[in-house]
Symmetry: C2
């Protein structure tokens, strides 16, 4: 990018944009800010834009250092500003200040950083007005514009006072109300020109009342200078600084100032104002879509006092203007290669474009616009891919409300964390059993599980329900993770709700201060509620829903084509985290190229019966009975599950992780143990003497920090029979799937939570030996080479890299024979930060508020810390085996920014839940473009 | 090291040692093993050693590969062996096999790796005997040696059968018993020569009974060959391999074989055998110390059938031999520059040395020997330092039993983990309150606290007790860590004990299988027990104790000199972890150069009253009452504690860590909360409505994984007032200590558990500002420059580097202004491995058993993983500030191997508990030598 210079060779300090001179352009966004750069760009394109000029962002720094030194930075550049003013005057044949015969020229002053930024001075309109200029405007045109002139002046006084002099706006409002009352009118528009003159007088007095030494500056040049300075001042105001710090924008150098000639849509029936899209933002249809008002200003459209008309009628009412609009839109879309969202004003029959930007659109439109534009020859496939966001795809696959937020606003009783997107409507159930009972009674009615928080034992009820609502837990709580995994909506961490699971009631309060006075709703078992998991809303009634779910390619015919481009563009493999054939089927439908993570423990928790088997295994009175349960019950059960997965997968890779969670997670809860009958029954099943013996056993197995306790590879080392049972089940499933289908299954075995080479070597040897034993035992049925394919490869044994130590010694682990490795980014993030996922919500929310962290490290990978560890680990592993497949299978595998990082870090595969596969593929493509 | 070669240029395969030829020497330990190398070395020195030869360890590998190929490795070198035999024959004028007129030559065959190794063939004596050789010996000397000959033959038959042919030894024993019974004698010595001949015949029959085709080989050459092969075979036996793997000796190439001519101490009144030290191993006194038996073999000394005589009497009985022994000992000590422990045999009036090695000694002797030898000019200071072990110093400062293990053996009821060294004797108490009550009743009697496990609230009782005994918990459990910190003995993780805290009884079982049948002892409140924390013993009575404790320099006059050498030799600073002035005083007495870690939380837990204040702060109903407690109660209390520390420290650095543990650790336990009165009282103190409200509040604050929850820097960020209170207390303490003493205190403030730069920056800014505020507030009393010294330095604000992420971004943290950093190696190890210290004992013990880990990573730093992270972190920090002080203050700061690593990693300081300071200084010196 070349920076324009003055004839002296110095960089320009004022960038003019008009039909003859255009110093700026889109490529200068960093210097001129987004707004200034695009105004210049449009001007260069020949789009009708009111002329003006931009003072670049670099002046902001100069201003600050001069202020400290006590010199006047704006004065120093004033010669250049005056030149720019005169150029604008020449272009328009008007005069700023209204001297002589020429029409008075008015300016707007707007800030404009490279990124839009709340907390900064936004806009001052109508600069250049004072009483004498008003009179001049009033005098012209036979007095028709007198009311217009004083209305404009009143607005200037108000805006200038409040934003430049930081006066309290209510003082102006009080004066306006006083005059309106006096005149007995209700609306501003009912005030006459004379009334408005009175208002202006009163406003001028307000200035003097606040500070007798600081009247409103009637000199237009002074108005302009003060407004420009106020923009620069606002950049260094605490709230703007704080915002930049929080938003991670600390490196931004400053804001530009845009000074632009005013145009007016309220100059009569040949004037007007409107907004429109170049295509329909809800469907993507290629048709101008928007609305406008005759004889109105932008504010009027927003205020909603008059009802705007659809843009189509403009072609009847002002055909020339309408055609000009159409031509301009075509030009803008062609130029910016994206659907545009513009604001326009018609000033006495002449069209002006005040702003253009890429238009927001929904998922359907995003896909359609992207595919259409490519087919129109407007954009490349890569550009089409860049145009679609992950959220767009999510919209297409998650159910949604038919009603708008406004329609159900009155019934909204709380907002929690938007833990898993999508909408759900159903009757409330307060326990897993209740969910199942309600579903049995009315299979077609939705049920929403509402808990203080969920845990592994709720899983069967969770599976049957349509969405989860929890009082506690963050974005990565059990409920949130399970919900995202299954594509179910979830609202978690609802701080204004209290759940009484015993009473089966939930209480909603108007604030986080929980007291009877604040109670706004009580929801009982069986009541209807609705959840918006994408916004975190809880609504106290049944909201109407759109149909949704599968069939995304059929419902959206351009989707398949779009995703095929995505597939071509990406290099990263996208696998799914899936534990059942049904999940895998869905994931494959969404384009998953295999299973990156199958969690054996989910199989063991899939039903009450299975939970009971797991418990009796763990609590078995001796090794013999434990082996009996492993061999006779668990093994065959898992074998069938695995076989179903392999049959569904065909020859796609299926990576099975050995049992990972602490065994005691399978044990009964304290509440269950208090139930005398339950405890006695379970004790009997486990051949334990008494309920008390059971309780003691459970107590002995509890851990202080289970996340770092007896879990993962440690279980397999202490109880080799569990590893053996799982390996047998996997290999037998591979053999049986081959026999059933004739396809060679592609199973991989993954050892979790490894931190030392010896741990991995211990399990690798055990698994390797067990694999041989199973093949030997079944050699008479089928040969190993038959099952595994003509090259008779080994079944790969790999490891999860999810402790910091494993990352550091990854090279040694690969030397020890790890055939592949997969980062468990959840555990790795927990251990790297020392943040327990279950407990961190108590401080992570505050951390965000205080600007300590930008994004939750459990959602988006922490590139500087955890990311560095991952890169180090990949380097270490590849130094030993340059071809070792490396993947990630934590929650981050479905997150866009994280996927970008994984791509750059040289991973081969990301694995995520089925419902995130489409998005992950898109992110992988974007990362590779 | 040069390897001797044969004339052909090939390396020697048999190393001869005799008075003329000595192929080996001490420098060839890796080739000849320890034993072989030292036999050669002694021979070279002119020490009387029975001549022989050594087959080097490299043959072991050759033997194994030949075995696989089916060739005969020993046969291949037999020419060399025969040459060595003939050289030995020449030297002694004897003949192996007894041909001709010469006296028969007998050999011993012993294995000898570079490290001694259980599970391998040890020794076969008397090789070269058969019936005809026996007859020859019997015939010589007028038949006096007939009994001797057959006794030797019987022993050969027994040893050869059991170790070379791996026959069941009991078969020989049965035959011996049969003959003894027949002859009506009880002792072996009562058997006549003829009886022994009968035994020998019976033994030969045993060979044929086991395998008719494998009789005892009467050919001496065959005996020798088979014995040599058996040594090599034993190297590759599973038990030897397993041992090497577990002991981390996998890189050892093989064992050497030592073939040495036999000498006999049982050839009459001019023969004998004995052991002795060159100096007293209990005091270090320079005097020969040992015992001997006339007409006896080594076995007889060990068997204890006859009482040996003190070595001093040898000077009367055999003055010539005694003088020869004295000369030899002087020579050996001079040569090996260390106190020696030797075995000798007098064979018919001639002295032979069979073994020499550095003598084991106790702490007192170690110091005295080291200092004496330096002063005798025998060794350098560095060698003196190397000669003393950390355990030696520990012995000097920990109390010990007067009774030997044998004396109290009968009362030993269990062995747990040796969690903290030292001996304790006292009455058993089962609660903190009981300890205090017993101490009050009988202040001079010891009390031992016995718990299922201890926690923060036991601290006051723990402090008053003389030792801890816990059923659960590993080497780094609360009890263990506190015990080591205070230098109190502790036995933890006693798997054969069950504590019933309610009943106030502990039950001891004979095995880990807990059942009434196995109950061996019940200990009740008030019963006397004794603990040996260095061995893990629990003894069911009062064992007699030595006095111990402070006064180490006075009790051991050479200690101060020795430690001054240590101080000169080390470059690493050694600080103490200390929380009270008394602890610091002791640490300074032991040579600590400052406090590396003062744990504020220990101050808050130091008494029941303080715990109560902490609880009311945490549970305060609103911010105002919390601030009230912080400012009015906690702040002043901490200020006084800190001031006492600063006054004790003078100008030594005092590093104060801000509150680190999860706040809920201060909360009442579930048991306490169940107590209605307790709960109601506490609720009232905290202005809470009811006991239930208190319970709910406590419940809400509990965490699933508190180790990774709301603790460390996170507390200070969420509750800045706690950081402010602590900072104020520290700065006011600094000011008041200066006013009181006129010395400039050297305080440092350390922020715990940082993982992001933003966290540190947040707290650093808050602390920095608070420091200014306190100095400003007290400016009228005293100036900042007065307090902090003429250079008016800043109070350094540093951070603990104890999450993996902090290690990775250490450079950024230093950029963010960290003035120093200290590794919290406990937390860092927990997070790097993902091992919870509290829960890991359930698998770490098994890990050791299975060879997954060699040493507990919470005792000795894991160099490959955690160490790598530390090194990376030091590099990162020093790249930004090459002078930044870096220390470690976790448990590892007192561990020898860890200190060696920290020295190499370039740390400046290690900090450990007062009782480990002496040892840490020694380790630091060793690391620098
Ligand atoms: Mg994991
Ligand atoms: Mg720590």
């Amino acid at each position: 990018v070349q920076i324009p210079t003055k004839p002296t060779g110095e960089p320009k300090v004022v960038y003019i944009f008009n039909s003859k001179t255009c110093d700026g352009g889109a490529e200068l966004k960093d210097i001129l800010g987004n707004k200034g750069a695009l105004l210049a760009e449009m001007m260069k394109l020949g789009v009708p834009v009111p002329p003006g000029f931009t003072i670049p962002a670099s002046m902001c720094e100069t201003y600050e250092s001069c202020r400290v030194e006590g010199t006047d930075a704006v004065e120093d550049i004033w010669e250049d500003v005056e030149f720019a003013i005169s150029e604008t005057e020449k272009e328009l044949g008007k005069k700023f200040g209204g001297e002589g015969d020429a029409e008075p020229l008015l300016f707007s002053v707007r800030s404009g950083a490279a990124v839009s930024m709340p907390g900064m001075l936004e806009t001052v309109l109508n600069i250049g007005l004072n009483k004498s200029v008003c009179e001049k405007i009033a005098a012209a045109n036979g007095g028709a514009n007198k009311r217009f002139a004083y209305d404009a002046y009143r607005r200037l006084l108000d805006m200038f006072g409040s934003v430049v002099f930081e006066m309290d706006r209510s003082q102006f409002e009080m004066e306006l109300e006083r005059v309106k009352e006096k005149k007995g009118v209700e609306k501003d528009t009912e005030l006459s020109a004379e009334d408005l003159m009175e208002v202006c007088d009163a406003y001028e007095q307000v200035y003097l009342k606040v500070d007798p030494n600081r009247p409103f500056p009637s000199d237009p040049t002074m108005q302009l200078k003060l407004a420009i300075e106020a923009v620069f001042e606002s950049w260094n105001k605490p709230r703007a600084k704080a915002y930049r710090e929080i938003a991670g924008l600390s490196s931004l150098g400053g804001t530009a100032v845009n000074v632009q000639s005013m145009v007016f849509g309220n100059l009569g029936e040949t004037s007007g104002t409107g907004v429109c899209f170049t295509r329909r933002p809800d469907t993507g249809e290629k048709i101008i879509f928007g609305e406008y008002l005759i004889n109105a200003q932008g504010e009027d459209v927003v205020a909603g006092i008059r009802t705007p008309e659809p843009i189509s009628t403009l072609f009847e009412k002002m055909p020339v203007v309408a055609q000009s609009l159409q031509d301009t839109l075509d030009k803008l879309e062609m130029h910016f290669k994206n659907m545009q969202d513009i604001e326009f004003t018609i000033d006495s029959g002449k069209l002006f474009i005040l702003q253009t930007r890429n238009g927001k659109r929904n998922g359907v439109a995003a896909i359609n616009v992207a595919v259409d534009m490519y087919e129109e020859g407007l954009i490349t496939k890569a550009e089409a891919i860049e145009m679609v966001e992950l959220d767009h795809l999510n919209q297409l696959i998650h159910p949604a409300f038919k009603e708008t937020e406004e329609e159900y606003e009155d019934a909204k009783i709380s907002t929690g964390l938007a833990a898993s997107p999508g909408a759900a409507v159903g009757r409330v159930a307060f326990s897993s059993e209740d969910v199942l009972a309600m579903k049995k009674a009315n299979p077609k009615e939705g049920v929403i599980l509402c808990r203080v928080e969920t845990s592994a034992e709720d899983v069967s009820g969770m599976h049957a329900s349509n969405g989860f609502l929890t009082q506690n837990g963050g974005m990565t709580s059990h409920a949130a993770v399970v919900a995202r995994g299954w594509g179910l909506p979830c609202v978690s961490g609802v701080a204004t709700m209290r759940v009484d699971e015993a009473k089966k009631e939930a209480y909603f309060y108007s604030s986080e201060s929980i007291s009877p006075a604040n109670l706004i709703a009580t929801v009982k078992s069986g009541d209807w509620i609705s959840l918006d998991g994408g916004e975190g809303f809880v609504i106290n009634r049944k909201v109407e829903m759109n149909a949704a779910g599968e069939g995304v390619y059929e419902q959206h015919p351009k989707m398949a084509k779009f995703m095929s481009w995505v597939e071509e563009a990406k290099s990263l493999g996208v696998y799914a985290n899936a534990d059942t054939a049904a999940e895998l089927k869905l994931a494959m439908y969404f384009g998953a190229q295999g299973i990156g993570l199958c969690r054996t423990e989910h199989m063991l928790l899939a039903s009450a019966e299975r939970v009971s088997i797991s418990r009796s295994m763990i609590l078995a009175k001796d090794d013999a009975s434990r082996v009996e349960i492993l061999d006779k019950k668990m093994g065959p059960m898992l074998k069938d599950d695995f076989q179903a997965l392999f049959e569904q997968a065909g020859n796609l890779p299926v990576t099975i992780r050995l049992l990972d969670p602490p065994l005691h997670e399978f044990l009964p809860t304290e509440l269950e143990l208090k139930d005398e009958k339950f405890a006695a029954d379970l004790a009997k099943k486990c051949s334990l003497e008494s309920a008390d013996a059971l309780r003691e056993m459970c107590e002995a197995k509890r851990e202080k920090n289970p996340m770092m306790g007896l879990r993962g590879v440690r279980v397999g080392i202490l109880e080799p029979k569990i590893t053996i049972m799982q390996t047998k089940a996997i290999v037998n499933a591979i053999i049986d799937a081959y026999i059933a289908t004739g396809v060679h299954p592609n199973g991989k075995i993954m050892v979790p939570l490894v931190s030392t080479t010896e741990e991995f070597e211990n399990q690798r040897a055990l698994i390797f030996q067990t694999i041989q034993e199973v093949f030997n035992a079944r050699a008479s049925e089928v040969s190993r080479a038959d099952v595994l394919g003509p090259d008779n490869r080994e079944i790969p044994i790999g490891m999860m890299c999810e402790t910091p130590r494993a990352c550091i010694v990854s090279g040694n682990l690969v030397e020890e024979g790890a055939a592949f490795m997969s980062f468990g980014s959840n555990d790795l993030s927990q251990l790297s930060f020392g943040f327990s996922r279950d407990d961190a919500s108590s401080f992570l929310e505050k951390y965000k508020e205080f600007g300590i962290i930008e994004t939750d490290p459990f959602n988006t990978i922490d590139v500087d810390g955890v990311g560095e560890l991952i890169k180090m680990s990949v380097r270490g592993a590849r130094a030993v085996n340059s071809k070792i497949p490396v993947s990630v299978c934590g929650e981050h595998g479905g997150d866009e920014k994280s996927i970008e990082f994984f791509h750059e870090a040289g991973l081969n595969v990301v694995s995520c839940s089925a419902f995130r596969v489409l998005g992950a593929r898109l992110a992988a493509a974007k990362a590779n473009i």
